[in-house]
Structures are given as structure tokens and as C-alpha cells.
Symmetry: C2
Subunit: 149 residues, 2 copies
Amino acid sequence: MAETRLERKLRATGGRITQQRRLIASILQQQNRHLSAEEILELARRQYPRLSLATVYRTLRRLKETGLVRELRLGDDCYRYELERGEGHQHMVCLGCGKVIEFVCDHCQEVHSDLAVQHSFEITGARVKLLGYCADCRARMQDQTKEKN
Amino acid sequence: MAETRLERKLRATGGRITQQRRLIASILQQQNRHLSAEEILELARRQYPRLSLATVYRTLRRLKETGLVRELRLGDDCYRYELERGEGHQHMVCLGCGKVIEFVCDHCQEVHSDLAVQHSFEITGARVKLLGYCADCRARMQDQTKEKN
DNA sequence: TTATATGCAAACAATTTGCATCCTG
DNA sequence: CAGGATGCAAATTGTTTGCATATAA
């Protein structure tokens, strides 16, 4: 259970297990996608209306420090959070519609390791973000071009 | 000359060539590293003291749109800007001292292209950010551990 | 019981915007 | 000369913090 993992990690860093923390962790687990603090707040308030945004941020920071949560930027100016799943997935972000496509790339990881050795750098985390256009948006752009002719 | 390239690009998108824009572009060119808007302002004001931060941001946005400038996030909560050099370099960011190591990785680009094909995604830009610790910081951490013994 | 977590409101920092004025084309 | 660009100050947005209160251990 993620609950157990959460509790273990929190206790290991001298933290307490509160309703709020459990709730936020469970939301990240259920949704299984990069949520913003605001989105987490909204979802969490359905079950616990008095939750504050400050607590969401504080909890996310804590979970990030324990390594349970991964923090990223996808292009809209806010941090996004997702449960660390350990498979090191990465993201493609469509500049047309904002859609985010996840992918796992073992090959990337090998290349990164090689680079790290070359620069005597020790990698603790990698962020790959491919910007561009998804198939749908490209199709839409095609259509619009046709219309004009 | 970059001046010419700047002028061409700006005109192509219906923009005007002003002292401020020229200055900001030349700073990015000379410094040849990821600067924040504040840093650019500070450098620019040495030559043109009445420059405003708003103009810096507006100019950077414009240069980004024309493809002359690349915008990135390196971990300190502000955007950083660098002249688009076309060789698609990427960054390692040291979590200890903030140092940024640049690297060029042709192999990465190949892998990204393959991924794009697989997901029928069209890549217009790639951001790879490797987080971790540089050699200096690791050495320092070693020393500190020794001290305690 | 006591230190950690919370909620609320206020504080902050980075970026954007409205508007009168300036200047390029 | 007209419309885009600038400077200034005010506004916005996302995130953090201070403090009194609540709660897990």
C-alpha cells in the first residue's frame, strides 16, 4: 500500500502522519498524473473542505524531500507534482493543446549516465521535456490551411 | 553578425529595431550563457540606465517568439534566457552549488527523434536537465564526513 | 504533554499590464 | 505621421511565511 510507504518515509524523516498528508498522497496516487497545487487542493477539498493551500504546498515539499513525489515544470507557470514511480518516465508537451504524453526511455537513461561519467557529475534526477505538436494538433493545422485555399 | 540576424528576424515578424532590443540581444550574445531578466537588466543599464525591466521581459518574449532566444528553467525560480545557438545543448544543474554544466548530446537528439516518431509527435524543442552533484560538491561532502569522524 | 502540523491572512518574488509618451519606419 | 515600443507604476499570479491554534505521538 502507498499508505504504508508514505508512513514509513514520513516517520523516517521525523514527520507525522496527518489526515491531510494521507489525503494528498492518496490523491496523487489515484490520479496518477502531474497535478498542480491548486488542482490537488480542489480535489482534496471534496473530502476535506477546510484544507488550506499552504498545507498542500508544505506537504508537497515534504513529500518531495522524502523522495515520494517528483516536482516538475511543464510549461504552464506552476509546479506540477506526481508520485515518484521509479521508472523514470519523461514528458512530451504539446504547444498546441497542452496535452502531455508520457514516455519511458531506458535508452535516455544510459546516455545520461555516460554523460555524467564524462563530466564527473552524479545524477540524482533527470528531466526530459520534448516540446512540439501532437498528431491531433498537426491534423487540425492541416485542416485550417486547406480551408484557406 | 548577430545584429543582422536580429534585424532580419524582427522585421520578418513585423517588429521594429530599437536601441533597447539591439542592446539586449548583444548582451545575450556576449555573455553567451543563461541570464535571468534581472541580470540582463543590470548589465544593460550600464550602457542604457533608463531601461526598464518591463522592456526586458517584452523583448525577451519577442526574441523567443522569433526563435532567436531560448527560455529555460534551471531550478532557481525564474526564467533564464540564452541565445539560440542551434547546436541543441543541454544542462546539468548541481543541487549543491547551483553550478550549470552545458553539454551537447547528439545521441540524445537521435533518441528523441525515435520517440517522436513512435508517438507521432513533432518535436520543435527539447529540454534535458540532469540534476545532481558536481565533482567539487561531492568532494566537499566527503571532507565534511571525514571531519565528523 | 509537547513538538509538529494546520489554517488563515499577510508577505513575497517574478512576471505582466495599462497608459501616457516616445520614436521607428 | 501612425502604430509599434518604452518607462513607470500598479496589478497579477504562484508560492511562502508568521502566528495562534489544533493534534499526533
